[in-house]
Symmetry: C2
Subunit: 198 residues, 2 copies
DNA sequence: ACCTGAACACCGTTCAAGT
DNA sequence: ACCTGAACACCGTTCAAGT
């Protein structure tokens, strides 16, 4: 009925059935209504997805750039992005598509950019660092590298002698994803610091 | 007709019309045939996409890990991934979906993992570094951060005072993407080196 | 062996008609 | 004002029938 209830149901279906599992007819059924009724509240399926995307990105908190140094600002922004995206992994491919066109994304990137410039980075460097942050955040949310391994370990043992079987157990996959993101982020920040201004 | 000709036409349509622009009927028309005929050579649309994905990943070269140190191995692998993916940006969301399930991806990750372990990293660290590499590569290929800005600069000037207008001109967007990837990769490698073994 | 026409069960979206 | 039924132009996929 309300736009907010439609967005909630949309996200529920995406979380449960995947991005391909969302159809306007299924969404309507979830809301106890006919598909055509949705078009009184939503202009288009694509538009609805953008609204849901905006709602998710609205939860990203980049306030870590107020006050502290750029290192902690970058770290807290990265983790906030990660936790917002990790809650709804199925919609990430859609989120990643053109972040620059999204109002909510731009407001946050503007804060990150401003914080980096205030710390002494050039405007161009600030843009590139913010881009690097997006690479890490979306790449980590999207590829869910480790969790893809969990199904049948025998395959890996025989054919890919170098891959680490011990860390591919389902139980540790999530922890490994977390630690991999932490290592990548900390290395990124450390590496930047090595060429930092001021 | 042949499986290879079908894959070529598939990629042509994806490059031209996007992932959503690919339909079996359109693909058939491109090949001068009826949609039903495709199912004599291809089991399913999803399967066809996986074949095309494999063909693209087959071109990624991780041989930089033979011989040289892990730093140059990581760099050359990253750039090879980047150039392979950058040639077909529209299929990247599909590629990123579950790299661990893909034969061609696993062979390359096995080489990367082996190279890192040979350089003295633990198996677990090697897995995490390889994951970080995937984050950067897929994130960079997917979010095409800078190129999304190019349409109307007046919007940014007024509302996002911190964002750097000078670097958002269409002409420099591509260069900025390149340099952002380079900065992120170099920072990642430098940061890792700070905690390197041996 | 390879292609086709027709059909099936789906899509997103529109629109006149109902309350 | 809000919902509906029916329709339109599409999908992926199957399968008997044609050459």
């Amino acid at each position: 009925m309300s736009a907010s209830r439609i967005r909630t149901a949309t996200l529920l279906i995406i979380d449960r059935d995947g991005l391909d599992g969302l159809s306007m007819r299924k969404l309507a059924a979830e809301l106890g209504v006919q598909a055509a009724s949705l078009y009184g509240h939503v202009s288009t399926k694509d538009d609805l997805l953008h609204e849901v995307a905006a709602e998710i990105l609205e939860k990203v908190d980049v306030s870590g750039f107020d006050g502290g140094d750029w290192r902690s600002g970058l770290r807290s922004a990265a983790w906030s992005y990660r936790s917002a995206l990790a809650r709804h992994p199925n919609i990430v491919p859609f989120l990643a598509y053109g972040p620059a066109h999204r109002e909510a994304s731009l407001r946050r990137l503007d804060v990150v950019h401003g914080g980096l410039v205030a710390a002494g980075w050039s405007r161009r460097e600030a843009t590139m660092i913010a881009a690097g942050l997006m690479y890490l955040v979306f790449g980590a949310a999207l590829s869910t590298f480790s969790s893809g391994f969990s199904e049948d370990q025998a395959v890996y043992r025989d054919r890919y002698p170098n891959l680490d079987k011990a860390h591919l157990l389902p139980g540790v996959a999530q922890e490994l994803d977390h630690d991999s993101f932490e290592l990548a982020l900390e290395s990124f920040v450390t590496g930047l610091a090595a060429r930092a201004p001021g």
